[in-house]
């Protein structure tokens, strides 16, 4: 069936089987391979994207469910102004090693700092508890997301003169 989905602000039309998973729509139909397939059992979160701003596992949704909706993938984090605060923070604070879990981690982190401008360790760990990382031990991921929150808050509320 034909669907229209807005991905990273750009509208796309695709004619897909109803059984095509959203992650395959994103990776194969739209060529956005930043979203990863990690497990096949809905357990790892490497496939996480934002659906209307909400973090979801794109391997556990059908592409047709995105018809008329907005999807944000890792490719949509940066804008004309440069890297998203989360991306800059992951770079600065070594929040990744192999990078396989990183798109999902950053999107979940970005969604978190939108609603919680000052997340504690527990807040961050709770938010990423659906995303598995085999490399880092999570420490620098937590640091990076907290740093991104602080950077974002500083940018939004510059210190008064």
């Amino acid at each position: 069936m034909e669907i229209t989905v807005t991905v990273n602000g750009v509208e796309h039309t695709a004619d897909i089987e109803s059984r095509m998973l959203m992650v395959h729509l994103i990776r194969e139909e739209l060529g956005l391979t930043g979203t990863h397939i990690g497990c096949d059992t809905s357990g790892c979160g490497a496939c996480a994207v934002l659906l209307d701003g909400v973090p979801v596992k794109s391997c556990t949704l059908f592409g047709v469910q995105a018809d008329g909706r907005e999807v944000t993938t890792v490719e949509g984090l940066a804008d004309a102004g440069g890297l998203h605060p989360v991306q800059a923070a992951f770079k600065e604070h070594h929040g990744l090693q192999c990078g396989f879990c990183t798109p999902g981690m950053m999107l979940v982190g970005a969604a978190l700092i939108e609603r919680n401008p000052d997340p504690s360790d527990d807040d961050v760990r709770w938010a990423i508890s659906g995303n598995v990382c085999r490399c880092t031990g999570y420490m620098n991921i937590v640091t990076a997301i907290q740093a991104a929150a602080a950077d974002r808050a500083a940018a939004v509320q510059p210190a008064s003169a």
Partner: protein, 290 residues
């Protein structure tokens, strides 16, 4: 693996959804959050010929108290259940359980209706609703019928939903002020299914325990109501002896299977521990609430 082919229908209204379900009968499944259904379809344990997407049907996601009942719409997502102020203030059994379901990504989509209709014995909310004496509201061509949870949850992945029917609401009797509860979940890691889960809901009456509800997750062919344990608590003087007896009886009623999560003996023992601990905690919350 990939799901087998199906026809996808997006319902705009409840009537549309019911009409589609009636038309396609046994071949149709409701698609709500899909967080249990889609993994099963990917394994081809489920292969419905038709999916009825109800995510765009209005009015199924309300949480409100009316006529002595807490009414939870079937499409209420687990994260909304966990964050809801009414639930957090007065329904501690539900408030404990909701944040422990799966992981935050799943909780953004998974729904109470989907969870109960899926009827996985490892599903957390089934035990909570049994403990709270809740009912399931089913809508179909013939109208509406309301079933107690014990008559709704029939067997493994089997409920009383008839072809053409849909679960639209869950109703929980509003407990008295002096009541409390909790949900304890043993899991190997965050996001895992329960090795063992225990829901306890207690009401206090004149210094003794009044009504007691105990639901068990992951230790039977379906969510179990520990009736003997409940009966031992009802009317009992709250204290270690009463809670220990309840634990003992609940463990005896459990019927766990040995698997990667533990042996039969381990799971049964953890039911005992968690019912004892859960009863004590539920009593504490009830005592402080009144």
């Amino acid at each position: 693996m990939l799901p087998s082919r199906f026809e996808y229908h997006r319902a705009g209204t409840l009537d549309e959804a019911l009409s589609l379900l009636a038309t396609h009968g046994d071949e149709a499944k409701v698609l709500a959050g899909g967080q249990s259904l889609i993994p099963m379809m990917k394994l081809r344990f489920a292969y419905p010929g038709h999916l009825v997407d109800v995510n765009h049907v209005d009015g199924l996601d309300r949480i409100e108290e009316r006529d002595g009942m807490l009414c939870i719409g079937a499409l209420v997502r687990h994260n909304h259940l966990a964050a809801n102020e009414i639930i957090k203030a007065r329904y501690p059994t539900i408030a404990s359980a909701a944040p422990q379901i799966a992981d935050p990504l799943v909780r953004n989509l998974g729904s109470i209706g989907g969870s109960l209709a899926h009827a996985d014995p490892a599903g957390d909310l089934g035990s909570v609703m049994l403990a709270m004496g809740a009912s399931a509201v089913l809508r179909g061509g013939g109208g509406e019928r309301v079933l107690p949870m014990s008559e709704f949850l029939l067997d493994t992945f089997t409920t009383a939903i008839a072809p053409g029917e849909m679960l639209t609401e869950v109703r929980v009797p509003i407990p008295p002020a002096r009541s409390g509860g909790t949900y304890l979940k043993l899991e190997r890691k965050v996001g895992d299914w329960a090795t063992v889960g225990v829901a306890v809901a207690l009401e206090l009456s004149n210094g003794r325990i009044g009504r007691a509800g105990i639901g068990l997750t992951g230790v039977g062919l379906k969510n179990l109501e520990a009736s003997d344990a409940e009966a031992s608590l009802a009317g009992a003087t709250p204290g270690e002896d009463a809670f220990a007896e309840a634990g003992r009886l609940a463990a005896a009623a459990a019927n766990p299977v040995a698997d990667v999560r533990g042996t039969v003996e381990y799971k049964r023992h953890m039911v005992d521990v968690y019912v004892r601990r859960g009863s004590a905690h539920a009593f504490e919350t009830a005592r402080r609430a009144g």
